[in-house]
């Protein structure tokens, strides 16, 4: 499998507080990477790095061998735990928005045939996530699970190279969460997605992922706890999952 995203000697520092230190790893295309770790171990920073919400202090992050600009872009989709959908748009409006932004730079609205085409695409995606009969509902009328389904549809309609999930199922009750696990696995294989998911739920991390990375501080100075950052302390390929999608062995480089 080819490497999609590479971290090369990446450090993240806020002032003199080191959050991530000397992180080097590669993420292959079509992998489902779960990121776990205690609070404050840099999981969210790691996600923000890929998202482009912030840049590394040192080192570089390469997407397809090209350094990432420290700005969000349509090649990386995101589903947050909350606030991922726009409350003023219906499900359909939320999903079409991505296409409207790309195709109508000035008005960000489509009309006529272009709108019908975009609508068709959006309906198809909403049906794929199980919202086929809730096209005209507003987020406030939806349950938490439906909102997350909508957020996923909204991201996938842009066909992102990487889909980032920031504790996407953390606020859902267990039954709904199980449904969402089935859905995301299905979407992952149907659309050949590359997914990086941050989660607090270790069982979820192992049951969904093809690879689990645990971020934590390897060293700890009791007098200056902020001076050591997190590294990938465990990096576990889950073999049988990997073999489901390809017979090739996954190569992982850790420092």
């Amino acid at each position: 499998m080819s490497t999609l995203l590479s971290f090369r000697d990446v450090w993240v520092e806020y002032g003199d507080r080191i959050v991530i230190e000397k992180l080097s790893l590669d993420i292959e295309a079509h992998s489902f990477v779960s990121i776990i770790g205690p609070s404050g171990a840099g999981k969210s920073s790691f996600l923000r790095l890929i998202l482009g919400q912030e840049g590394p202090t040192h080192g570089s992050i390469l997407l397809d061998g090209i350094p990432l600009a420290p700005e969000c872009g349509p090649d990386r989709g995101i589903v947050f735990q909350r606030y991922s959908v726009f409350p003023h748009l219906s499900a359909l409006g939320n999903t079409i928005l991505g296409m409207e932004c790309a195709r109508a730079p000035l008005s960000a609205r489509l009309f006529g045939a272009a709108r019908r085409a975009a609508k068709e695409e959006a309906v198809e995606m909403l049906t794929a996530v199980g919202l086929g009969d809730s096209l005209h509902l507003y987020p406030a009328q939806m349950s938490g699970g439906m909102q997350q389904r909508l957020a996923i549809a909204q991201a996938l309609v842009k066909r992102p190279r990487i889909l980032l999930l920031d504790e996407p199922f953390g606020a859902l009750d267990p039954g709904i969460r199980a449904d969402m696990h089935v859905l995301i696995r299905k979407l992952w294989s149907d659309y050949a997605l590359t997914i990086v998911m941050v989660t607090h739920d270790i069982r979820e991390a192992f049951s969904l992922g093809t690879r689990v990375i645990a971020l934590d501080k390897r060293r700890h100075d009791p007098h200056a706890p902020h001076r050591f950052g997190a590294v990938a302390v465990y990096d576990l390929p889950l073999k049988e999952r990997v073999e489901q999608i390809s017979d090739e062995r996954v190569s992982i480089t850790i420092d």
């Binding site: 995101i78 947050f80 909350r82 960000a108 507003y138 406030a140 009328q141 909204q154």
Partner: protein
């Protein structure tokens, strides 16, 4: 049952709401009647009959000098000034507030200026406006705009800046540019807030309108009130004040209705 839990039926709510108003009216009538019993020529608390009499002259008999129906000419002039002032302020709130709220460089550049203008008491600027713009309509409208626009701008800017960061990030991952984030994410979500800001600005807008009309004008509700004050004509002042209150309530109700009608998603009901 605790009072915090007592919910009233709609009819009971209307009845209870009307009660204090009726009591106040009855109290006024009693006091006015007792004063008139003592002095039939009392002007301080006029009876309804004299109010009706003097108002019907203003409403239905053309003025000898101008040939206009004074009451309606006053109403039209005041509403026009108020409407233009409120309209300009709303437009400024949307354009400037959106840019201030959504674009950090714009906020850094113009935020202090807007704050500075907002803390100046607008009435203190009235002489400047009269000197710079003359005594015509422009100065009166300008006073309303100077008075309410900065507050509205700051309100909209704060609302836009407080939109969840996740939404702005999400929009960018959907390929939105700064402009697209502003018009498709920030603007629609600022609209209900804008109507709310208009409602809250109506009170100050009336204050500035009446002030401007009181000082230099030849027509308008505020002008008339301050004119007839010289003759202690409470029989005109009281109906005029009641009319202003009625107009203000009508505008408030209209704005609330519009907000519910146009932006059902912002009101949390079942659309």
């Amino acid at each position: 049952m605790r009072w915090v839990n007592r919910q009233l039926r709609r009819s009971d709510r209307l009845l209870l709401g009307a009660l204090p108003i009726l009591l106040l009216a009855v109290a006024y009538l009693l006091v006015a009647a007792s004063r008139h019993a003592a002095n039939p020529a009392d002007k301080i608390l006029p009876l309804p009959s004299s109010m009706v009499q003097s108002m019907s002259v203003l409403m239905f008999q053309p003025d000898q000098l101008t040939g206009q129906l004074v009451f309606w000419a006053d109403t039209l002039a005041s509403l026009q000034r108020l409407g233009i002032g409120l309209g300009i302020s709303t437009l400024m709130a949307i354009c400037v507030g959106l840019a201030l709220g959504a674009l950090p460089p714009v906020r850094a550049t113009f935020g202090p200026l807007v704050t500075g203008i907002a803390v100046i008491p607008p009435i203190a600027l009235l002489p400047i406006l009269f000197i710079a713009l003359g005594l015509g309509e422009t100065a009166k409208v300008a006073l309303i705009v100077v008075g309410i626009a900065p507050v509205m701008i700051r309100d909209i800017a704060a609302h836009v800046a407080a939109l969840p960061r996740e939404q702005i990030i999400k929009a960018q991952t959907l390929g939105a540019s700064s402009w697209q984030v502003m018009i498709r994410v920030a603007l629609p979500q600022a609209m209900p807030r804008l109507l709310q800001a208009m409602r809250l600005s109506l009170g100050p807008a009336w204050v500035f309108l009446i002030s401007a009309e009181a000082i230099a004008s030849d027509v308008g509700l505020g002008y008339r009130i301050f004119l007839v004050r010289r003759y202690l004509s409470m029989d005109v002042i009281i109906p005029y004040v009641a009319w202003i209150a009625l107009l203000a309530i009508a505008m408030d109700v209209t704005l609330t209705f519009l907000s519910r009608r146009l932006f059902p998603w912002a009101h949390g009901d079942n659309h």
